[in-house]
Amino acid sequence: MLRFIGRRLWEGALTLAALVTLTFFVMRLAPGGPFSRDRKISPEILDHIKAAFHLDEPMWAQFGRYVWGLLHLDFGPSLRFRDYSVGELIAAGLPYSLTIGFWAIVIAALVGIGLGLAGALRRNSGVDYLAGTVGVVGIAVPIFVIGPLAQVVFALKLGWVPVGGSDQGWRSLVLPVVVLSLPNIAYISRLTRGSMIEVLRENYVRTARAKGIGARRTLMVHALKGALLPVVAYLGPATAGVITGSILIETIFAVPGIGRHFVDAALNRDYPLVMGITLLYGGLLIVFNILTDLVRGGLDPRLRGHG
């Protein structure tokens, strides 16, 4: 177990190292610079600014400086928000992104599993068709179409929730969380339905029933455990989906999280901020993939010891 975690962490560290290197050089090689969008400044002043951020050094030296800083947990200064460090900006934005992402995953898992189970147990019933519809719509209609439509209906027409922003507490979270959870509800309900139908045909479920365990207990303890395996396996990639989604969601709903920061930083060539957020996303993805594998191992003894 510990060896497994250790190995996965080591692999994760390698991935992160590759990610940092690639991101660093891709950013620097991309045309344009952090100060090319500013109003005209004289070349001497530009040189001074560049020197202040060490942008005049050769690229390998800048890379070395950046990695050295990372090893001391220093993500460097932001080039656009001159008074803030990247660490401060991330610390300010992360709570919004995490709150929305967390609730979106929780709701997606609960509603998705619920719909999937209902569909599998009452096949071709109204619930099943509802689940099927949600599944198709959630997968096919992108959130940047659903999001604005939801804003029009629930915020502008009905006035139940604010259009966006973050100044109304939980009320401003409702739309972003619900919209972000939709595609995942779709995937999870499809997965749950499919695997539950399969599991119900398994011999061990029949054995459980034959032994005289009640229908309810068979379902909830024996079948569910097997049926949830693919769902749990999906939660790792789902995190990646939520990261993608949060970039869109924060743009659509004007949430001051790190997703929107990332897009702005990438467009403005704010190198350190892009690097910081990329590292954070990469790290989150790796941690979630490891957690997913651990939970899968817990649910399915066949997966243990192989990994």
């Binding site: 990610l19 950013m27 993608t244 467009l267 892009v274």
Partner: protein, 284 residues
Amino acid sequence: MARSLSTFQVQLRRFAGNRLAMLSGAVLALIALGCFVGPLAFPFTGEDADFDFISAPVDFGSPHLFGTDDYGRDLLVRVLEGGRVSLTIGFLGAVTAGLIGVLYGAVAGYAGGLTDRLMMRAVEVLYGFPYVILVILLSLLFGGGNVALFAAIVFTLWLTPAVIVRAQAQSLSRREFVEAARAGGMRAGSIVWLHIVPNCAAVVIVYGSLLVPEVILSESFLSFLGIGIKEPQASWGNLIETGTAAMGTDLRLLLLPGTLLALVLFCLNFIADGLRDAFDPNER
């Protein structure tokens, strides 16, 4: 006596029997036809401003059927032209990413050993990257524009076909007919190209069809964020973005491109489902 059918013919028939998939195919063909031929029927292009019709509403009597945007550009023509870009990038992107993935996977799976381990380790590392981040960064690196967008999307989407084909190629490389080819002195390159790749066709068709909506989604996602295709060129992504900005006053600008994009994605998903059921019945 019934004529005997090859597996491929059986699969095609099964697909043709799937009504939802066939209907989706027809709708998709219609939309594609509209996008590629439709704009020719109008005397103006989507980038021509008509100053007599600024922000015109839907009016089937006027030359601008679905009205114009606030520059006086015809909305319908812009949406159709945007569709041209989206569909082209979608199909070309899926084919290119699929091709790269298939070749990479086939070589890795057939070669085995150290080559395979190194090649798949590279794929694993790339898999650990947050995909959107990579697309955004790459499209910046290639300098923006259609080609940059295309390259960035292809670069991030060839991984899944590579992994799938590699597994298939690995089991194929141990089969008798491949062994026979090897014993007969066939070169490794020819074996991969003539025996391994064709035998992965079914898997590739099924997963390749899933790539198309994925590419279209990536394209419109990036254009929506202002990173992909930029004004004045139209794409569904940047049209939806414009529509979002105006949604408080004029929902039409959001609804037309949004509906069309959703419709195309629906169709592509149903077709992919149909292909999977026809070619890979064990999956479900």
